[in-house]
């Protein structure tokens, strides 16, 4: 029963990792950009949530109303102001520019909020649980997992059922032809980054309610998101959710064997899948 419990808790944890990964997957899908600053942007989302909850006295979940649009705006400005200039055949500029951004965001957070670990107070939500049989599920992990499903389903719907999604797919397939068809690719990319950072804001707030955070943890969150994307297969959003779940389950099972093994077990699961299925389990994009 303990093992069943570990698997269930790991699955729910996977929801959080899928939220980390969804933004990464979306940006890569639309403009083949890998954002090294993604983890630090998640942490930025958490800190914005913290500021909003303390300044306005809002519940962290309610703070989403402010933080999601704020992060989306940051994303649009970031894309149009800086990142659009880096896109092209050479992979070095986007990589190094987002790496620079990562260092800037991290140190700006350190300067503003100090290195002390912070946590958002979500009141009863943090401790409430539901019992199913002999399993006890925390309400917060269940809610996070539910949000991950809703976010991925909406992104999937947006991608394949709306005109914005059509514009994303068209630009992704062929930028020049899309441009000829009257799409402004700079604007489209801006919108994609805005959407991605909106999702990142949700990820940041769910992270900030679940655990304490400090400015230095961005790199680790980037790696979790990246592993979920690769395990699930590039460009496949539902695959990303499954990737997150596999990562989460590997971690909780690892922690069950020995607490020191939690993170290592997740990384090893990722490397094993990379060795066996280099394109991930359900790849959509063939590079």
């Amino acid at each position: 029963m303990e093992w069943v419990n570990a698997v269930v808790q790991g699955t729910l944890l996977g929801g959080l990792y899928a939220l980390f990964a969804a933004g990464l997957s979306l940006i890569f899908g639309v403009m083949r950009l890998v954002n090294i600053a993604h983890g630090d942007l998640i942490v930025l989302g958490a800190y914005l949530g913290l500021s909003v909850t303390t300044l306005l006295g809002l519940h962290p979940i309610a703070a989403l109303i402010v933080v999601v649009p704020a992060m989306a705006l940051i994303g649009y400005i970031l894309q149009r102001g800086i990142l659009n200039q880096t896109l092209g055949k050479d992979i070095l500029p986007p990589l190094l520019v987002t790496f620079g951004l990562s260092v800037i965001i991290q140190n700006a957070l350190l300067e503003t909020y100090s290195a002390d670990p912070q946590k958002m107070n979500a009141g009863a939500l943090e401790t409430a649980s539901v019992s199913i049989g002999s399993l006890s599920l925390g309400l917060l992990p269940v809610l996070t997992f539910g949000i991950a499903i809703v976010v991925i389903a909406s992104l999937q719907w947006m991608f394949y059922r709306t005109s914005l999604g059509r514009a994303f797919r068209a630009t992704s397939d062929n930028q020049e032809i899309a441009q000829l068809m009257g799409l402004n690719r700079r604007h489209i990319f801006g919108l994609a980054m805005a959407l991605a950072l909106g999702v990142t804001a949700i990820a940041g707030i769910m992270l900030g309610i679940r655990t304490s955070f400090d400015p230095s943890i961005g790199g680790g969150r980037l790696i979790f998101g990246f592993e979920a994307v690769i395990i699930g297969g590039l460009g496949n959003l539902w695959g990303t959710l499954i990737g997150g779940v596999i990562l989460g389950v590997a971690q909780t099972i690892g922690a069950k064997i020995d607490p020191g093994w939690q993170l290592l077990a997740g990384h090893i699961a990722f490397l094993v899948i990379l060795a066996v299925r280099p394109n991930g389990l359900f790849p959509r994009i063939n590079e």
């Binding site: 992979i91 070095l92 986007p94 980037l222 990722f270 990379l274 280099p278």
Partner: protein
């Protein structure tokens, strides 16, 4: 195809002068224990080690197109191997550094086989995952102090040289030697057959492949050689620090972020770039270090601006303006004066 009055050469007046000046500077630097103070020598030792790390990273990213953000894996591995080999293997520290290089190459083989499956930017994050795996694994090694790390026993430190100044001189010379060896290795590698292949890959991977260059093999060799040398530099770094812990050994900021900034600012894909970048980096650090986190933000901004406005870095700007090259690598066609 050669016409009698044309000749193809690599050397030029500038490269000859540069070689001569380089030799003079090297002699002055070797003699530093006789003219420099203790603190200056420490700083210069650190500069040489960063120069070596930057030259190696530049060989990978600038020439082989392997952008790694996980070189701290080998720096930390090298440091830990130095501690393990001297503490449990009973090796002399200098012998341990050599063995560390071999071990670095061996561990890099399975790593390369795995992460070479990832393309481009995903390769970069893959290298970071490897570095995390190394960090977490060494944090589990209780014989080496686990998560809190350990110090190098006094006996081992003494085995280097009995007096404090003797040890300081030796570690200065080791750092200087490492920078000279790495730059020389990169230079001769680039002039070799493999280096020619590498330069072709840098300029156009598709064209290089169609000319029959085995791209995978060339990149693989670069990755393994870089890993071995980076591990040896890591061993040297922690021989100077005398204390190691997982967080310090596998720090992404110290061993990768700074190195990337150095190469980008100096000029990626040239041998001269990392040298200039290292000097600028330490100049900035010595003047702005009091600002702490602001200094790092300034560094990030400078790197972004250079990447956007002058992607070939400071050396690239100078080179295109004055047609300069200090290391004779590219070929020039010259007209013979007699003809």
């Amino acid at each position: 195809m050669s016409t009698p009055n044309l000749n193809v050469t690599r050397t030029s007046g500038v490269t000859k002068i540069a070689a001569l000046l380089g030799l003079v500077v090297l002699i002055i630097l070797v003699a530093a224990p006789y003219w420099a103070g203790r603190a200056d020598m420490r700083l210069m030792g650190e500069i040489f080690l960063y120069l070596a790390l930057a030259s190696l990273w530049n060989l990978m990213a600038g020439y082989a197109g392997l952008v790694s953000v996980g070189q701290q894996a080998y720096v930390g591995f090298g440091g830990y191997m130095l501690f393990a080999l001297t503490m449990f293997g009973g090796l002399h520290p200098i012998a341990a550094i050599v063995v560390t290089g071999a071990l670095g190459a061996i561990i890099a083989v399975p790593v390369a086989l795995l992460i070479f499956r990832l393309r481009g930017a995903y390769f970069a994050i893959g290298t970071w995952v490897i570095a995390e795996v190394f960090r977490l694994s060494f944090a589990q090694a209780s014989a080496l102090g686990g998560g809190s790390g350990s110090s190098l026993p006094v006996g081992i430190v003494r085995s280097l040289a009995s007096s404090r100044s003797g040890r300081e001189h030796l570690s200065y010379w080791l750092a200087l030697a490492s920078a000279v060896i790495v730059i020389a290795a990169v230079y001769f590698f680039l002039r070799s057959r493999n280096g020619l292949a590498l330069t072709a890959i840098r300029d156009n991977e598709l064209a290089a492949g169609s000319l029959g260059i085995d791209i995978w093999r060339t990149k693989f060799i670069v990755y393994i050689v870089t890993a071995a040398l980076t591990a040896m530099i890591g061993a040297l770094i922690f021989l100077q620090k005398l204390r190691i812990s997982p967080d310090a050994a596998f720090s992404v900021n110290d061993w990768t972020a700074f190195v990337i900034f150095i190469v980008v600012i100096g000029g990626i894909g040239t041998i001269e770039g990392p040298i200039i970048g290292t000097l600028i980096f330490f100049l900035l650090r010595e003047t702005l270090a009091d600002l702490g986190t602001i200094y790092l933000m300034v560094l990030g901004v400078v790197a972004i601006v250079i990447m956007l406005k002058a992607p070939s870095g400071i050396w690239g700007l100078l080179r295109s303006r004055f047609d300069l090259e200090l290391f004779p690598l590219s070929y020039r066609v010259k007209q013979n004066k007699k003809g």
